[in-house]
């Protein structure tokens, strides 16, 4: 694909996202989207980023991480911190304000970059010691790591402690959420279809054979882990700065990590399309079940759990298995 064509695709995507964003916020003609639905759609977008990024390490490389919420927290708090405490100054550099125009673009890009980088560094620190070992050590280490992060945040008053980072400015919108989701999908897809991605697949299938074929397994696992953590950090930055959706330690415990794992398992481990479907379904499903709650209070989460159990019994490979969108249209 030529450079010009690629540039055109990027430009068209940005324009499309922008148009959708305008429709989302100001409506089309008389039609205005229900804010409740708008919110669910935004959460779907954030969860797509989380699920697709986790899929890189859990699905493609076959390593079991249960610390995605931890990386989301590191990135989210770092990004939000930047906006809250330095956003005004940064926006002034381009002669705007944090909440509008060029100012908000600059602040958002910088804040997401800082979020991604800080989460990636955290990923490196956690990944190097734990990924050198073969086996399930990663699960325990990542679980411990995300709990440590949570307790640390709980004890920093500047970021709100137990109440959550309520000082966050609501600069996240549809445009950024789905821009990042598309970026994540593109990055993970391109990695999957490369030498690096195949080497990760080899690590998943058989580490000994992978090493014998010249794959430096530790280096590959750590690199994939760092990329995955960085993307989760961006999702954190988006989530924490969404209107009335502040980051808080109790929302970023290991239950959140499990939630993301469930999304990729339901979608089909290793499939990007599956991760997108899983994230969408499992964000909408608990909300859709709210109607049940109106008649039988408390039944909602019971039903949700039951549906998951039934699903795993009848379709243990997930919605798509390892298949992608393009495989579904073949033949």
């Amino acid at each position: 694909m030529g450079f010009v064509r690629k540039l055109a695709i990027v430009a068209a995507t940005v324009a499309g996202l922008f148009a959708f964003n305008q429709a989302f916020e100001y409506g089309v003609g008389d039609f205005q989207i229900n804010p409740y639905y708008a919110r669910i759609i935004n959460l779907v977008g954030i969860n797509i980023t989380l699920a697709v990024s986790l899929n890189l390490i859990n699905g493609l490389a076959g390593q079991f991480s249960i610390g995605h919420a931890g990386f989301m927290a590191v990135g989210g708090y770092a990004a939000t911190y930047l906006t809250v405490f330095h956003g005004e100054a940064l926006a002034r550099l381009v002669g705007g304000t944090v909440m509008s125009g060029a100012g908000s673009v600059v602040v958002m890009v910088l804040s997401l970059t800082v979020g991604a980088l800080s989460a990636a560094v955290a990923g490196l620190v956690v990944g190097i010691p734990s990924l050198r070992l073969k086996g399930d050590y990663l699960a325990i280490v990542t679980l411990g790591f995300s709990e440590i992060i949570r307790v640390i945040i709980l004890n920093i008053p500047a970021v709100g402690g137990a109440t959550g980072f309520t000082a966050a400015l609501p600069i996240t919108n549809f445009f950024w959420i789905f821009g990042v989701a598309l970026l994540t999908i593109t990055i993970v897809r391109n990695i999957t279809n490369s030498t690096f991605g195949r080497a990760l697949g080899a690590v998943r299938c058989d580490e000994i054979a992978a090493e014998a074929m010249g794959v430096n397994t530790t280096r590959h696992k750590v690199l994939a882990f760092v990329i995955s953590a960085g993307l989760a950090g961006m999702a954190g930055g988006l989530s924490g700065q969404l209107f009335a959706n502040p980051l808080s330690p109790q929302n970023l415990n290991f239950v959140k990590s499990i939630e993301v794992i469930v999304m990729i398992v339901v979608g089909g481990l290793g499939s990007i399309t599956g991760a997108v479907l899983g994230a969408t379904t499992l964000t909408i499903l608990p909300e859709a079940l709210r109607t049940v709650d109106q008649q039988f209070p408390g039944l909602r989460m019971v039903l949700y759990a039951l549906l998951l159990i039934l699903f795993m019994i009848f379709r243990p490979q997930g919605l798509l298995g390892r298949k992608e969108l393009k495989d579904l249209f073949r033949r």
């Binding site: 391109n190 030498t195 195949r198 058989d206 000994i208």
Partner: protein
């Protein structure tokens, strides 16, 4: 003190490997000249596979040194040794099970490609070209093994003999100087074994390889190896041409017991 450089491609000097109290390989010296087809045989439990694991870095020798292509390789990690040019197959086939035949070979080309992760992420034109070339190279290799027809099949769905051939193809994709084959004829019928012998001969010439093989099938060993070394209980008991080794009293004793 400078060690004199060994003349052969692979040179193991007085290598010993102990697992706790068990000595799996003892004082083994192995000298494989460039271009040789070298057989390593011995009864079950003689330590043949352990030797392969020592040569490829899966195990680190307790004592002794291993030199490959003029450099010391013992104690180096397996991926580095693969990079220096030693490739292997496994006794119990270790294909990448949920990948296709083609992907198995392409994965093994990993070492010899010039792909950059950044370029892959950005999907650059150069990256796409590299991918295309790699695919073509992989298919070409599969053609030699008559596996190009099943390139899109899942590797583990192939019949056993084809899986063994695919493992050799995958090893060759790393462009090795030395190929270690761990019981390549295991589980093959006489017809398949004969075809395998021809295949081994032809790839040696075609890729100017040096081959060391561990094998139980004596017809195969005696038919293609120029030099045979016999191990028993981790100790080398004989070394020579197939005919010489066959006449060796110690070898007969190791295989058949004392009469």
């Amino acid at each position: 003190m400078m060690q004199p450089l060994p003349s052969g491609l692979l040179h193991a000097r007085k290598v010993t490997k102990r697992f706790g109290g068990l000595t799996a390989v003892k004082d083994l010296t192995l000298e494989v000249p460039r271009g040789a087809l070298y057989g390593l045989i011995g009864p079950n439990g003689a330590g043949k596979t352990t030797v392969f694991n020592l040569l490829t870095g899966v195990y680190k020798p307790t004592e002794g040194e291993i030199h490959f292509d003029g450099r010391r390789v013992d104690g180096r990690p397996p991926y580095e040794i693969a990079n220096r040019g030693i490739a292997r197959t496994f006794q119990n086939i270790r294909l990448f099970s949920d990948m296709t035949v083609l992907e198995n070979v392409m994965t093994a080309q990993h070492l010899r490609t010039r792909q950059w992760l950044v370029e892959a992420v950005l999907g650059s034109a150069r990256h796409h070209r590299e991918e295309r070339e790699e695919r073509e190279r992989a298919i070409e290799l599969l053609r030699i093994f008559r596996l190009d027809g099943v390139a899109g099949e899942q590797a583990t769905s192939l019949p056993y003999g084809s899986q063994r051939r695919l493992e050799i193809a995958r090893a060759l994709a790393t462009k090795p100087k030395l190929l270690l084959l761990d019981e390549p004829a295991a589980g093959m019928n006489p017809q398949e074994a004969r075809e395998l012998m021809d295949l081994i001969q032809s790839i040696r010439n075609r890729f100017s390889l040096t081959i060391v093989l561990v094998e139980h099938n004596m017809k195969v060993v005696m038919g293609i190896c120029e030099t045979v070394q016999v191990l028993d209980h981790g100790v080398s008991i004989a070394l020579g041409t197939p005919a010489e080794v066959q006449r060796n009293a110690q070898v007969i004793e190791a295989y058949l017991g004392v009469g």
